[in-house]
Amino acid sequence: MALEKITQVSGRGVYVPGDDIDTDRIIPARFMKCVTFDGLGEFAFADARAAAKEAGEVHPLEDPRFSGASILLSGSNFGCGSSREHAPQALYRFGIRVIIAESFAEIFFGNSTTLGMPCAVMSTGNIREVAGLIEANPAAELTLDLFENKLSIADVDFPAALPDHAREALVTGRWDAIADLLEGIGEVRARAALLPYMAC
């Protein structure tokens, strides 16, 4: 299973402000009544989008200026809460390919990496600055470079980094661990044989 080596991702940006955006916000649980991930994209941030509409506002993901954006910027502790892979799956199926935030919740981060969707960490100040540049020019192309640990927009570079293990997995095309794990089955059986409870 040769996977794409994800070294650079380009696209337009969209800023969804807020800290501690939880997975119930990203995909409310009532939309998880399904046996496949197909069709989840339309429910990404469903309640937040509906609430904005009701308040006479436009949610960034509904804003035609940012339509087709694939690089999502947000605040700290993005993806906290549930372990539901439905959350990154919904964003991916919505068209998101990169998430930039001040920090990420651990399970969400791992789930996203496994989908080949890099989650890069950037300082709050820089996120706001990039958000300002996007607001001023929604058509501007952003590029996340995983080798250079930077996000570029209109010839300006901002530091944007992934932890080494995730970066390594993405740039070498090993972001879905299953192939590596299957290679170790012999050793798995040997290890399991040493554990009395595994025999039950």
Binding site: S83, E106, D180
Partner: protein, 469 residues
């Protein structure tokens, strides 16, 4: 060299180091449910893979099951499709399924310990973030995503980095009317909802030594709400006594050596930690949330914070929370009107939770206009509670007595908030929309505080309502 429990369990389960530096970690026990497993079985089929250790995978159904009308087919066809998918996936792969007719169905994190499947020194994974609950037994238990459910089904392993360990000591005796739920809400309030990022929380100290297994589970359950994917308590005599005689516990001659093995997994007395924090049990009062994440919590006698009183970095979330909750900054939280009282969930749906509340509500009545429901965490809890007369006490007091499941903790079954209803809830998350209504409001608290709210129709101090001194 002195080691923590995490070090020892990790060493016993590490298969090899993967090319990106992660560990291929053996997962001895895999728990699955209907929401996060069907896609994983689908991926397995697409890849032509089989379940490697079917005997080490256990299934139950909890998130989508109705708690009132439980006959199949369910009126919700999507829910019905999910239970049928789980049933056929388990049958095809020889996986034990604690199905509705089994008498052993319930919330996955209540069923595992109850059946004796959750054991010290083991690794456990489940596609649910509250898997940290099982750490109460000295297991290392991870909430995982669906792709990892696939990985564990196919290889009984997953790729993961070893977390660092923060030791959290709580010492002394809790004052009457203060519970394990208050302890964990207090810890999250102090350390923040992302304070545990990259860490495992090891809970200890004399308060934890004195806790029952069920109290330890309540605390470990909410580790993830503090950002820690893993939380655990070192196994001791309390743990072993809980496990003795349970369905999947070692039996006969196998028992004594198992206990010796389990004992050996506890952290060494001089183990070193990446961080240590200390709390006094006596400083903790009944705690309730006022906001939209579990860290936004105050003692019952405190006032709702004003945005200008919270640190600058938390201010915008505080403003968002106040707007959602319709709470007035600077006003007491006590007295806030309550529409719904929910007693249940993987945090507080165990027998001891029901026993403790029943002790105080006997002969009292739920306030008119409040919808109060009790949802036992498992069929096991339910039948014990029935036979002990607890169910009757709740019914007499005006609570609805329901069948086992996740119920109103999340909006995946018919138990949901409506509109802007405010729920006094013994569950674990107060996120916007969590209880099924996008504008619904959740105030997290201990089971007895939920009962106090049910009786008075407002957020109340259970110590006053029940005369606890």
């Amino acid at each position: 060299m002195s080691q923590t429990l995490l070090d020892k369990v990790w060493d016993a389960h590490a298969v090899r180091t993967l090319p990106n530096g992660s560990t291929q970690l053996l997962i001895g026990t895999h728990l699955i449910h209907e929401v996060t497993s069907p896609q994983a079985f689908g991926m397995l089929r697409d890849l032509g893979l089989k379940v490697l250790y079917p005997s080490r995978t256990f299934a139950t159904v909890d998130h989508i099951v109705p708690t009132d009308e439980r006959e199949e087919p369910f009126s919700d066809s999507l829910a019905d499709e999910m239970i049928r998918a789980l049933r056929s996936n388990c049958a095809e792969n020889n996986i034990t399924f604690f199905d509705l007719p089994s008498g052993r169905q319930g919330i996955v994190h209540i069923v595992g310990p109850e059946q004796g499947i959750t054991q010290p020194g083991t690794t456990i994974a489940c596609g649910d973030s509250h898997t940290s609950t099982h750490g109460a037994f000295g297991a290392i238990a991870f909430g995982i995503g669906t792709s990892q459910v696939r990985d564990v089904l196919a290889t009984q392993t997953m790729a993961i980095r070893k977390p660092k360990v923060r030791r959290i000591n709580v010492d002394g005796k809790l004052t009457p009317g203060v519970y394990a739920k208050d302890v964990i809400l207090h810890i999250i309030r102090q350390l923040g909802v992302n304070g545990g990022l990259g860490l495992a929380y090891e809970y200890g100290g004399s308060t934890f030594d004195a806790f029952t297994q069920e109290e330890r589970m309540t605390v470990c359950n909410m580790s993830i709400e503090g950002g820690a994917r893993v939380g655990y308590v070192n196994p001791d005599e309390t743990t072993f006594a809980y496990l003795k005689g349970r369905n999947y516990s070692p039996k006969g001659e196998a028992w004594a050596p198992a206990v010796e093995r389990w004992r050996g997994f506890a952290s060494d007395p001089h183990a070193s930690y990446d961080d240590v924090v200390n709390y006094n049990a006596a400083d903790i009062a009944p705690t309730v949330t006022w906001g939209i994440n579990p860290g936004q919590a105050i003692f019952i006698h405190e006032r709702v914070p004003r945005p200008e009183d919270v640190p600058e970095k938390d201010r915008s979330t505080a403003e968002e929370a106040l707007a959602h909750m319709h709470l007035k900054p600077g006003e007491p939280i006590k007295g806030t009107k309550v529409d719904v009282a929910f007693l249940g969930s993987c945090t507080n749906g165990r027998l001891s939770d029901l026993t403790e509340v029943a002790r105080f509500i006997r002969g009292k009545k739920v306030r008119k206009g409040v919808k109060a429901i009790v949802v036992p965490g498992s069929q096991g809890v339910s039948s014990l509670a029935e036979s002990m007369g607890l169910a009757a006490i709740f019914r007499d007091a005006g609570f609805e007595w329901r069948g086992a499941g996740c119920s109103m903790c999340l909006g995946m079954n018919p138990d949901k908030l409506v509109g802007e209803q405010l729920c006094a809830s013994s569950s674990n998350r107060n996120f916007k929309g969590r209880q099924g209504s996008p504008t619904g409001r959740t105030v997290l608290m201990s089971p007895l505080m939920v009962a106090a709210a049910a009786l008075t129709g407002e957020v109340s101090d259970a110590r006053e309502v029940f005369g606890i001194k």
